[in-house]
Symmetry: C2
Subunit: 339 residues, 2 copies
């Protein structure tokens, strides 16, 4: 089904009042406005053409690009390389931060790491990965995470996966990326501020409270197994957004054991498969938000995977105000994905 069709069903072609919802962690407001998908649309958004020859693929074994890659580690189904065009790279200048232009602005070298975890088989699609391939992917990310963490210049590591051109995937060949920077990710910084404030007032991790609330409330739960909960967050910013998070308090992804990664892989495969079934060729981003590597295990932060489908575009209002308008209520997301 298309997003427009789903939205028409939800609104039954009538007007549903938009509501404002507050992100309990950051304090940000978002708008749930189911009626807006009914807007006229006189621009044609063309289908993307099929991809050309795979001989030129820089990630396929044997190609020219492949041969030039510096392979960090290789396993049965995947291998890891340094990103050739890194956003962060290892280079210790000795200076942590400097003030250019007579101390007015602040700048730093973009120290860190930027690795690519590549699935060997060009034809695998993230939304139909097997459980074992997903397990191999997350295990490798975990392994690299712990290796990169040893570099004491690194403060924050963000594993991500871009799926589909609308989600910013610039190379079709299936691959994840690990970004490791010397500064804490802005979003994690903001979440930690809110989570710390919540902890100060309530004496408990806000994510743990959300998990408890969602499990009792049930209406936004998508899937769960022994160790992980998948749910559509109350103040979702994206249509069909889902968060997958450990049920018990864990602030750091990197401390996951094998049994946890197995259950995590299971939940991810389940949710991605259901998303693909509802909206074929769904473009999406995955990313893990977890504690900065410079901190020890912490009582108020909780790691999670966010699945962000990219079915709509942010316009001037979203960029200007930071207030995101989401046309699919998370309760409806959960309803569709529970089936």
């Amino acid at each position: 089904m298309s997003l427009i069709k789903i939205n028409k069903k939800i609104t039954q072609n009538g007007f549903i009042s938009p509501v404002l919802r507050q992100n309990i962690i950051t304090g940000d407001w978002i708008v749930i406005a189911p009626g807006r998908a009914r807007r006229p649309d006189d621009f044609i958004h063309p289908e993307l053409p099929a991809v050309k020859s795979k001989k030129e693929c820089p990630f396929c074994a044997g190609s020219k690009g492949y041969k030039e890659n510096e392979i960090i580690s290789s396993k049965k189904d995947l291998y890891v390389i340094e990103n050739k065009f890194p956003a962060f790279y290892e280079k210790n200048t000795g200076t942590r931060s400097y003030y250019p232009e007579e101390s007015f602005y602040r700048e730093r070298s973009s120290i860190g790491h930027h690795e690519v975890v590549i699935i060997k088989d060009h034809n695998q699609l993230l939304t139909s990965f097997s459980k074992s391939l997903t397990f191999a992917l997350f295990s490798t990310i975990l392994e690299r995470y712990n290796e990169i963490k040893k570099d004491d210049q690194v403060s924050s590591i963000t594993p991500i996966y871009n799926h589909g051109p609308e989600a910013g995937a610039s190379i079709e060949h299936p691959h994840a990326q690990i970004f490791a920077s010397s500064v804490v990710a802005n979003t994690v910084n903001r979440e930690m501020d809110g989570a710390e404030r919540y902890f100060g007032i309530n004496g408990v991790c806000v994510y743990c409270d959300i998990i408890r609330h969602e499990r009792a409330e049930k209406k936004r739960v998508v899937y769960q197994n022994d160790k992980f909960l998948a749910y559509a967050p109350f103040a979702s910013r994206f249509p069909f957004e889902v968060w997958i998070t450990p049920k018990t308090h864990k602030s750091q992804f990197e401390n996951s054991n094998q049994a946890e990664i197995e259950e995590f892989s299971d939940a991810t495969v389940e949710v991605l498969g259901r998303l693909e079934k509802i909206i074929p060729n769904i473009p999406l981003n995955l990313y893990i938000r977890t504690l900065p590597t410079t901190l020890e295990d912490c009582g108020y932060y909780h790691w999670y995977l966010e699945i962000a489908p990219r079915l709509t575009l942010f316009g001037g209002f979203e960029l200007g105000s930071g207030v995101i308008i989401n046309i699919i209520p998370p309760e409806k997301t959960a309803e569709y994905l529970r089936k």
Copy 2:
């Protein structure tokens, strides 16, 4: 020229080290990584097809959609309507905020206004508006702003303009939008926090300090006239991002007088024309960030227009970390746009 070509020129096909830069207002970090445009790109981003018949255009006088619109005001070159699918709408429920689900989450009615300012001539393109049309547009926005502000349910008004489908324009016919909500825009909230902190330490408006610094430093200045400065901000998030702001301290857009709107229009027309010349058919968003309407004139906030070209996509890293990777250094933006 295309973005890729410009980037190749900037890097001279060599590797330029990425740097981290901090937004002096919010504290957010961004990355300037000129080398990344050289990445292989095996997805084809197709040209968008030309738009079909204008008879169906809901904003063209005489069409079916046009007749159904409730016209709020009409002038020589433009007219204003209520958005038919509003994100915010006037409806006083009496409740400012409520806590659904046993007081856990926070929700509000999406009270406010959502108006559309429509240029009568379907064939005008934002990037080649005349100075008089731009003046008419901003004057009308100003007039509606002050009218909407009278509603004491409104806290924050965000005027925007989406240009091109990649920037989220869902209707081709040229139009601006005015969003007025009962909550303060998240971005303005965050900027005010940072600006207030800066004021507390330095006793001066951070934007005024930036303007002073940029005028002295010169290398990021794009254009200026008597009353307005156009510059590429130090921690730009978008390739060819430009801010246009009053040179002297003004926290509120709505207090602008006719002479100021004239100079503001002049600066906007100049910058947009130069952007279009450098990158034909450039898709972009405009938005005004200004003081919440519930506050009186304030010493630490400063209104401005942001021009955000949409030449690249945010991927998983940008969404996950909030750290934006920008492939065009703002000094280069200014160099191109000064010519």
